[in-house]
Subunit: 516 residues, 2 copies
Amino acid sequence: MRQYETFELRFTGKEPAAEYADIPLCAEFACGSEKKNVKGFYDGEGVYKVRFLPEKPGVYTWKVTGAVNTEGTQICEAADSRHHGLVKAVDTHFEFEDGKLFVPFGTTVYALAHQDDALVEQTLSTLKTAPFNKVRMCVFPKDYDYNHNEPPYYAFEKREDGSWDTSRPCLAFWHRFEKILDRITDMGIQVDLILFHPYDRWGFDTMSRADNLRYLSFLLRRLSAKPGIWWSLANEYDLSRGKTISDWEEIEEFVAENDPYGHLLSCHNCFCFWDAGRRNITHASIQTKGLTEIPRWIAKYKKPVIIDECCYEGNLPHFWGSISAQEMVCRFWRCVASGAYCTHGETFLSDDEVLWWARGGVLKGESPERIAFLRGITESLPGPLTPFSNAGLLTLAQMDSEEMEAALLEIPEEMHSFVRSIAGSIRRMETDDRTAHIAGEHEWAAHAGEEAYLWFNDRQCFGEQTLPLPEDKHYRVELIDVWNMTRTVLEEDACGRTKLRLPGKEGLAVLATGII
Amino acid sequence: MRQYETFELRFTGKEPAAEYADIPLCAEFACGSEKKNVKGFYDGEGVYKVRFLPEKPGVYTWKVTGAVNTEGTQICEAADSRHHGLVKAVDTHFEFEDGKLFVPFGTTVYALAHQDDALVEQTLSTLKTAPFNKVRMCVFPKDYDYNHNEPPYYAFEKREDGSWDTSRPCLAFWHRFEKILDRITDMGIQVDLILFHPYDRWGFDTMSRADNLRYLSFLLRRLSAKPGIWWSLANEYDLSRGKTISDWEEIEEFVAENDPYGHLLSCHNCFCFWDAGRRNITHASIQTKGLTEIPRWIAKYKKPVIIDECCYEGNLPHFWGSISAQEMVCRFWRCVASGAYCTHGETFLSDDEVLWWARGGVLKGESPERIAFLRGITESLPGPLTPFSNAGLLTLAQMDSEEMEAALLEIPEEMHSFVRSIAGSIRRMETDDRTAHIAGEHEWAAHAGEEAYLWFNDRQCFGEQTLPLPEDKHYRVELIDVWNMTRTVLEEDACGRTKLRLPGKEGLAVLATGII
């Protein structure tokens, strides 16, 4: 037993009589005064398993009851340098359990596990050198444009009438699926595992409430002890044909209750966001292109925000699958320079219908190289980024008179009536007009305390720019060309208001990092 | 006297005793049963003038009363081919009085008239070959970044205490100003004349209510008979230091009442839009970058929408003055492919502080050439463009159940639950989330009846695209590269659903025009 690594107990016994999935098999693991209860599962051929994830080193005693009754003791050694534990949400960023910062740079391969072995191998091989440390993928197969193949296995056996027997998980599926998951997480890539989704022709999206929970119970028994997995309740929960909002709330509660370790837990939307303010939800997993609103969402949820879908690099005849590599790269920079995180996908038309976003294979686009460049910069920062301003002009308009007076003290008196006019005018705007309007004035700016400041100038072609750096600190200021991946030092030692001359072109960022 | 051309009566008399501006000088012009009352003005050196704009040919009798008392008859000849009358709003587009379509392609030179003669000459010379047929310019001088020069003249004489005497217009100003206006309109360019604005160090923005109206009275007496002028109540009315909303409403009403011809009348915002639904307002003159909302505004106001400010091509350290030529061109295409109109401006840093947007001079940018290309295409269309869909997904969410049932009849039954889910989810979204979200899925598409269809694919890199053309008509389909200014025929004779292969790059438009 080693800290942060899955510990597995195996027992042999008789095959369960009827129910394979929701079997009575419990275990208690105790270390000092701390106790944790977990559930085991039947894994076929007379083998019962109990998995446990030790999060601290020490001496553990365990006691298994139910289908198997036995107990034992195990010494758990401290983690080696390769293992850091679960990723957890801390404030508005992510950290591993050992405190190491985790900055998500995700990609999307929805039906990764539902392809033949050769294609899965190719996908894993691509992931090995790709810049991504998170992959969004589904438990269930996918039926959609460019997604028509039958998977090698399904998660359940079928009854004679053709319906899915959720009490009999298809163990061939789960064995193969787990191997894929393990190989991905072994590469240091987090699996953002999508538990339900609407793009379905097999009936997995319209199972009964009881079937949904039995499926989740089995999945959580098998996978909860694996530290590299996140629970994504759904891809596009709101397009599900079979579930109401209260079904989703029950699913959310069930997953949270039956996960002994508190894996990251989110729910991804097509339109209306799942409320990331809910107790069980650890972070916002949002599909949107309205990236200018990110600082507002961070302030609202007080949790990390991942833009898990913002269109894909490609050339499909759909708006969501036809952004350029340049635009994909800009969207990553916009998210990062807002204190949020972004997820990639790729959708190039192909005669063999193997598109990365759904089936995997190889990456053909020009964005991954630039995402790697951004990831390198982000990981070299002294800490996580948070938005520079929470909502700018909108904040001004939302101040009460006392707050406004306080804010006016900060600016010259001759500006007061002007600022009051602006605030009054924004306040009078209809919400939809205001949102669309103010988006066009958005500044992409984030900082890591007073240690680093990042401005992504996006499509602005500033010929000059003045940085409002702290007066009492010193910074190296770099100009970053996000497409050409160059970094040019503009100032070796800047402090206070610093005016820069810039080349007046699109796609530049300015990074000020503190020097001693 | 000739139809659509300013007719001027000149009389000599004694200089007015005290009040120069609001003098008692009226005239009635009658043609058959139609009568129009206009007011005259004192123009210095004992000269009184009455101007009239005949909008129909025929025999006119006129009678002047007040400071001058006389009458006469005049034959008004039909318009020559150079004159088309006032531009009027018709539905959601513009036409001259003779029915000729007017498609605005505006530019911005706020303080054009407040520069020295050499610079004014250079500006007019630039306008002569530029692609613009409308210019936004101010009566009052401008004080702002890169706008520090004193003008040659001011609109009023000063009192001994240094305050402006609005009862004594500075005739040297008005003579010079009118000459500039006439030279611009003689080039076929409409003057969108800005009557007030907030960027002021002289006090024109904070004059009394009485001074504002006296100024307007004099201006309208002088300029109303000139057909090439539009009234823009303000640039950024909402940032005025001196006027409340009810002051603006009074100004709007005064201008409308004292303009005998009904020139185009709008009011330009910084934040909260002036309500273009108001009776006196002929069209929306909007500053915004939220162009995805245009179809909604067109549907709301049922009047033409001009995006009169959407940032300027340039390299200033301000978001509003630093978009690339590519982005400026795209914004024009977005507006046009939404059934709206767009206005240009240019702001390149310059040692002499002569920036086109405020002071004129020469154009340095790369967008005007491409705007000319777009203007050529637009003017070759068989009629004005209107948005293809009014608000797309939003419309779906706003349907009542009866409208929804009717809409569902149009689509296959297996899609019904999916569409209901989408509608329900959009309906549940907060307005700000929804606006930002749906903007990212916007399709820029407009049509001229069934005669022409235009899609601007903007940053989408479609590798294929299917056009839903009418089944019973035939079209030539062209691919337009908006930056490289090329037009390539993709289909010589298309009808019904037409699938195109496209090169999968940004900045392309598809135009289908009806063929016999």
